[in-house]
């Protein structure tokens, strides 16, 4: 038994090392004054400073953020409706089709999603003249389509454990259906809607493959730019971007953790 737990502990240590080693190394080397990975040229923030003057990169980051915010918001709204309908409405025309269309993007290879959407946009443009050009709009549409599926999963799992008598109570007290929805359902679903939004936001911000397919000239998202750069190897400014993103994630996760903890403490 003793020997086995040593085995387990060492495997776990190896696993966690595997998960965190690359992240840590990128963070450390983002402060390396030298351009070479192997050479420690002293502590420096020069790569961060050079980021600020990289207009192309800033534009890509801004475009990515804009697309992520819009697509996450739309995906959350649409996904919440689908989740609610699948949970509540007994007779949906083509229920199997709907639940198929909402689960398929979760397992669909990105490359196929990207390719098929591109073909759609091209066909639509030649048929009805819309969308006239590909760019931020088509990327947003693509992101909404696949991240909606993730929102549905998150919201449905919350709905499954929600006490439905809360809504009945509100209706019993005189709330009409729409009022009940905003007075009770939305506040109860809020944690799920928030995590669904965050998930959609992250997926959008992170997406390389689908964006590459449906984007057009002039619209380069941050992952597309990064990909173009890192195909040629390590570049210190990408290390700096990675570090910034890691910092943001840590801040977000800690805040989310604190909020849930406070809520738990409040309800204890």
């Amino acid at each position: 038994m003793r020997r086995r737990s040593i085995f387990l502990i060492s495997v776990a240590c190896f696993g966690y090392a595997l998960l965190y080693m690359p992240i840590v190394s990128v963070v450390v080397y983002s402060f390396n004054a030298s351009r070479l990975v192997t050479l420690w040229g002293g502590f420096s923030t020069r790569w961060y400073v050079s980021l600020l003057s990289d207009d192309k990169l800033l534009a890509a980051a801004f475009l990515s953020l804009r697309i992520a915010v819009v697509s996450a918001t739309l995906a959350t709204a649409l996904g919440a409706i689908v989740a609610l309908a699948l949970h509540r409405v007994r007779r949906i025309p083509g229920r199997i089709l709907l639940s198929g269309m909402i689960t398929a993007p979760l397992v669909m290879p990105e490359i196929i999603t990207g390719l098929s959407l591109l073909f759609l946009f091209i066909s639509m443009a030649s048929l009805i003249g819309w969308p006239a050009s590909r760019g931020a709009l088509t990327i947003t549409i693509a992101h909404v389509t696949f991240s909606m599926a993730y929102v549905v999963v998150v919201v449905r799992s919350r709905l499954a454990v929600m006490d439905e008598s809360l809504e009945e109570a509100a209706m019993d007290l005189g709330g009409r259906p729409l009022a009940v929805f905003f007075d009770v359902t939305v506040p109860m679903l809020l944690p799920a809607l928030l995590s669904g939004w965050l998930l959609a936001f992250t997926l959008s911000l992170d997406d390389l493959v689908i964006s590459s397919f449906v984007s057009g000239p002039g619209a380069t998202t941050l992952p597309m730019l990064i990909f173009a750069k890192v195909k040629l190897g390590v570049t210190p400014d990408i290390n700096a971007i990675t570090t910034i993103i890691i910092g943001l994630v840590i801040v977000a996760v800690t805040t989310a953790g604190l909020v849930t903890n406070r809520r738990k403490a409040a309800s204890a």
């Binding site: 190394s25 030649s126 993103i245």
Partner: protein, 325 residues
Amino acid sequence: MGSGQHDPAAFLSQPCEHTRQVSAPAKKATDPQLWLRRALRMPYLWLLLFFLAPFLIILKISVAEPMIAQPPFSALLVWGAHGLQGIRATFENYSFLFRDGYYGIIVLSSLKMAAIGTVLCLLLGYPMAYFIARQPPRRRQMLLLAVILPFWISFLLRVYAWIGLLDNHGIINHALMSMGIIHKPLAMLYNDFAVYLGIVYSYLPFMILPLYSTLERLNVDLLDAAADLGARRWRAFVDVTLPLSMPGILGGCLLVFIPAVGEFTIPALLGGADTLMIGRVMWDEFFVSRDWPVASAVSVVLLLLLIAPILWFQHLQNREHEAGS
């Protein structure tokens, strides 16, 4: 119950003032789900237009002939002066895929690489999930969070981070050489090894989470019962824990295998020129040779290959749901 200043009798004597007076016969009930059913139209249409339609278009293009035109393929429906005149479909693209052999090799190679990556992921993920599930609850939460946390950091950047570690002039080779363990850099980047590592690294959380949830639910008493009945620890594991955690093993493996087959980023960044994975080939087929019909046909074949594991996964999920409720 009533206190002095709040006289229940006074409460009673106040007129009942329901705003909706009931003296008139009540209206027919409005359907409380009416608005939801109406609202559903929007996402429904969205999915039909942006998910189903593109998929049908892929099918259509895969049976078209490549043409030097815009768009670069022939039309499926032939329209004449008197409406539809015929359907022009060809299976040339598919038969090309099978005749050519190149694509067959790539598909097999993708399946093989995804399968090996999945097995490696399981070999690392199972002990980790087992380890986490056996910790006290507070530490369990911490350790799980530590598994999930990297997921929130950009996938692309995490894959990129390995370049700096694995490169011939990278951190690992540098460290090994300066310690005198090796004298020549180990070739760890731009080959299949790097791709396997990338798959294990990227998909480890997807393996650990379903494994953890079955292992956590597993009753410790069962192990004690097995031990009580004379099973050695190892036998108890093989006879009890392993079979009972089978749903988690299958779930985790499918969750890794399905996306790994079509993976693009990992082979593109970490793989070598001879690393054949279908995602990467399709990318090249499309962006480099611009052969849309063949790219479409490859997509359809890839999807057909993935349908079986996807349905299996769905089946597992449904069973899990039923067991849960």
